[in-house]
Symmetry: C2
Subunit: 113 residues, 2 copies
DNA sequence: TGTAAATATGAACAAGCGTTCATATAATAA
DNA sequence: TTATTATATGAACGCTTGTTCATATTTACA
């Protein structure tokens, strides 16, 4: 491909990027991945991918301090990665929706190759 | 569901987590998402999702300093999110493989709902 | 060979953030 | 009501990391 054609190609790439990718969407996309992209949170989410759990069980499962787990649950909840319901003296957390599972599974595939 | 049954359920969730999620895999999964979960890098990857670009064009596209882009390209390259080839005095970057696109698209869907 | 253009790199600084520690709150049971 | 269990929260500390600035390197071309 000659210089001029490559230049044209690149310009059309830039155009498509500018048309389709607004700042706000980019920030939202990066944010979800940032939230999931932290080992402690990933552990919690992976645990919940097998079923709902109360806080105490999450703590035992992922082997982190109760306080740390609680802080991370808050962040996951605030970013709509998980939801919770109260039941007796327990708070039971579970994944927000199937999208989270899909993303997790895709990343798992990518890693396991 | 009574207490005992719930306890049993939770224990089986914990078991499945422990069987299937080894530390190394979790760290790898979190790492990829951490790399993508940063606005500057997300911008670069999104730009490249429309086609390959040389560094200078990436700089113009995502509106970051040349140095910053270069640093981030290195991180993306080291983590196998992108590849490059040299052509004349230019270095042309492009996505490493289709998995990256799939992840990006899934996240985009999630955000756009 | 020397100059300009394109890209990479290293050090330093600031900001973000995960963990810990101590403590608060909520809910149940006695 | 009091004690106990379960969970949440706030402050502080330390580490990580993205950006900038200055500069090095590489390649093409005159």
């Amino acid at each position: 491909m000659d210089n001029l054609n490559q230049e044209r190609e690149h310009l059309s790439v830039i155009d498509r990027y500018c048309e389709n990718c607004n700042e706000e969407t980019i920030l939202k996309m990066a944010n979800i991945l940032k939230i999931l992209g932290e080992p402690s949170r990933m552990k919690i989410v992976l645990a919940l991918s097998y079923g709902e759990l109360c806080v105490d069980h999450i703590v035992k499962c992922v082997n982190l301090s109760q306080s740390s787990v609680s802080h991370q649950l808050r962040i996951l909840k605030d970013n709509q990665i998980i939801k919770f319901r109260k039941e007796k003296q327990n708070v039971i957390y579970y994944l927000y929706d199937d999208h989270i599972m899909e993303i997790i599974n895709l990343v798992r595939e990518h890693v396991e190759e």
